[in-house]
Every structure is written in C-alpha cells, then in structure tokens.
C-alpha cells in the first residue's frame, strides 16, 4: 500500500462574512493533521477565521465536456435578470 499521504482540498472563510473559498490543497494523513497543515500553509497572514478541509477523493466535479448541457439552458432565460423588465421611472426605485 502506498504510504503517500492523501490529498486534501482547503477552503477558507475570510474576515468579512463571505463564504468559504477554495485556496489550494495539501497532503496530510488525516483530517486533524490536514487542519493543522492548512493553518500553517494557508493562513500565515491572517487570511481566515474558519477552515474546511475535504479529502480530494470525496469531491465530485463537473467535466469540461458537460459545459454545454449544464450551462446553455440558462442563456435563453434572460427574464431571470431584473434588467429584462422596463419599469417607468415614476415607479421609483425597484
């Protein structure tokens, strides 16, 4: 069995209440060590207030060839954007 430590993906939430964001990956034997390593590798300059680590093999990712079927349907639905509707200025801010 390979003794190479598994790969973990690291997500960090910054100071200002935004969502966790993917920042990179690292190797660690388990979640506890992944957390410790993430702290050392990705938050040396106060970059975050919360860390998530997920073992990379647990992430399911869409494939580049799915781009068409996945995202094209939304292109024809411009009415989902507020600017689609003409509202008279007299109606005030809306």
């Amino acid at each position: 069995m390979s003794n190479e430590w598994p790969l973990w993906e690291v997500f960090i939430r910054g100071q200002h209440g935004i969502s966790h964001r993917h920042v990179g990956s690292l190797h660690a034997p388990d979640a506890e060590m992944a957390m410790k390593n993430a702290r050392d590798v990705y938050t040396r300059r106060n970059e975050g207030v919360s860390i998530w680590v997920v073992e990379a093999r647990h992430i399911a990712a869409s494939s580049p060839s799915d781009k068409g079927p996945l995202y094209e349907p939304s292109q024809s639905k411009v009415y989902r954007h507020p600017s689609f509707f003409d509202i008279p200025d007299e109606a005030g801010h809306m």
């Binding site: 190479e4 430590w5 990179g24 690292l26 190797h27 034997p29 590798v41 040396r44 990712a61 580049p64």
Partner: protein, 330 residues
C-alpha cells in the same frame, strides 16, 4: 528565475497548419487569454513541459530554504531571527503551493520528490552558492528574491490556471522577502566600515549568480519559442535580466555599494544599462552538479527525506487504524 532551461517539445512552436483540430482549438483558447484548467484537454507536450517547469520551481523553493536556514540560529537579534524564520517558512509554503499545482497535471508529490533526489529534476543554480556571512541574508533577499519576483510577476498571467493562482499567492508574499533583504543591506551599508565591507562582499559574490538565475540567452531557443506560444513563459531570459539590472543598479547606488562590473554603464540610446554577462561556463558547471554546494544541498534533502520516513509511515498507519476503529464502531 527559479526554473532554468526547461525543456519543451524541442521542436519549436508547432505551425498552425500542422496542428490537429484539438491542438488548434487549444491554441485559440490560449491566444484568447483563457485559462486552461486541469480537466481540460491539453497537448501532451504542454502537460509535460509544465510538470518540468512547475516541478523545478517547487524544488527551488524547497532547496532555497537551506542557504537561509543556515543563518537562523546565528541571526544578530531576536527580531531578525523571527523575520528570517518567517521568510524561510514562506519558502516552504511556496514549494507546497507549486507542488499542488504540478499534481493537478497527474504527477504525484512523491514522484516529484524522487526525481529531485535522484538528480533527474533540477532546482535553480543560485542555491548552490554558500551563504558565508550575515550580509548574505541581505543580498539573498534583495537580489535572489528580486530576480525571482522579476520572473514570477509576469507568470501570474500564465495560461495554466493552477500555476497562475499559485503565482498570485506567491507574489503577494514575495515582496516581504525582498524588502527584508534590502533592509538588512541598508543597516549593514550604513553601519561600521567592517559591516559595509561585508555588505559589499555579499553583493560581489551574489551579483553574477543572480544574473545567471534568468538562464542563458534564449533568443534562439526552440524550447522557449514553444513555451512562449503556450504562455507558460512570458518574457525571454534577456528581457528579464535587463529589467533586473535596470531596477537593481539604482538600489545599489542608494546603498552606497558598487556593482562588481566595470563595464556597467547607462546607455542613453537604448534607455537601459549595458552590463557584462556572467561566466556561462560556471553556470553550466553548477547546473551539472559542480557548484560549491551541490552535494551538500542534495545530501541535506536526502537526509530530510530518509529521516522523515518513519514519521510519514507512522502517521499514515495511525490514520488507517483510527479509520478502521471508527468503521467498526458504526
């Protein structure tokens, strides 16, 4: 530059007429400034060249800790020691960001490490020079990190997404490295005559090896032509070297130090400094393994890898046992 003489396909840029449909589409995406992501289709040559380049860059960050680590226990004050420690820790981080980027191309961390330890992969020639005095910590930060920044700033725009993102992160942190180095140089250059002599001596020893960091002229290199078409190399080595000299000369003047090149002078017509080339036979000797510290550096890396084996294995065995116990309890 932390990656020197990276071999590409060796055939120069492939003419469009010879490209397959997939290759032409790939080149169109790069020309349009799109980023290539790990799961996207890419030519095998692009993948291989990138693994070589990012791998060599990562190895340089890791081996680059050694010349500076040499001075951590002997830093002149507690503050300087803490700063140097933080800087060396950053270098470890930079190596890790880059290994991660290389791994998205389908090579494992252990394979990369093995290729470094076996000598199949290289690291930058600059780290094969010794750091003899505390002033060298100043010269390394100022010149070596300065040269690295010169190369890394344009690489933030490189076509491969994970490499570009690693570069952006690295550049943010790199400026601290150069400034702390220049700060040491200022202190020494304005110190006692003996301290100033040490600063001058450090500049004398690191000037030409720093110029070598960019690699020999690649104006006619078939490897560089292909890499530039793929936007994994943005500027020629000579462009970056010139830029580095133009930036560094006034900084040396400000310190009251002399760049060790009698031919160095401002060329009004070119709008650049004229300067002497380093001794390229020395460069090739260092790259081949005959630099002053090559064997010491490789020995340190091999020792770290071998001595760490029981930790890597032990922690993995512990993790497996813990996972099995958890599974049994469920």
């Amino acid at each position: 530059m932390y990656a020197q003489m990276v071999q590409s396909t060796g055939r120069g840029m492939k003419p469009r007429a010879e490209m397959t449909e997939e290759e032409a589409r790939f080149q169109d995406r790069i020309d349009a400034g799109e980023k290539i992501e790990p799961k996207d289709w890419m030519p095998e040559g692009y993948r291989k060249t990138l693994i070589r380049q990012i791998g060599q860059h990562a190895h340089s960050e890791i081996v680059g800790q050694l010349p500076e680590g040499n001075w951590i226990t002997r830093a002149p004050t507690l503050e300087r020691k803490a700063i140097l420690l933080a800087k060396v820790q950053d270098e470890a981080g930079h190596g890790l960001y880059l290994y991660c980027a290389a791994e998205t191309l389908g090579v494992s961390r252990d394979e990369l490490t093995q290729d470094l330890l076996s000598g199949r992969m290289k690291y930058s020639s600059i780290f094969n020079y010794p750091t003899l005095t505390w002033a060298d910590m100043g010269a390394v930060g100022w010149l070596v990190d300065g040269a690295a920044i010169m190369n890394q700033v344009p690489l933030q725009r490189t076509s491969f997404g994970p490499y570009s993102r690693a570069m952006i992160r690295i550049c943010k942190e790199e400026s601290f490295h150069q400034r702390q180095g220049y700060d040491i140089m200022m202190k020494m250059a304005k110190g006692t005559p003996e301290q100033k002599r040490m600063a001058q001596d450090a500049l004398n020893r690191f000037w030409y090896p720093s110029l070598m960091m960019f690699g020999p002229s690649d104006a006619d290199s078939v490897h560089s032509a292909q890499s530039m078409a793929w936007k994994i190399k943005i500027n020629t080595n000579d462009e970056l070297r010139q830029k580095f000299v133009d930036q560094t000369v006034p900084q040396a003047e400000l310190l009251g130090l002399t760049v060790p090149d009698p031919e160095l002078k401002w060329n009004e017509a070119r709008g650049h400094h004229d300067f002497s080339q380093p001794d390229w036979s020395e460069f090739f000797a260092v790259i081949q393994g005959d630099g002053p510290c090559n064997s010491e550096r490789m020995e340190a890396r091999r020792k770290a890898w071998d001595d760490g084996a029981w930790v890597r294995e032990g922690l993995m065995a512990h993790a497996r046992k813990k996972a099995a116990r958890k599974l049994a309890a469920e």
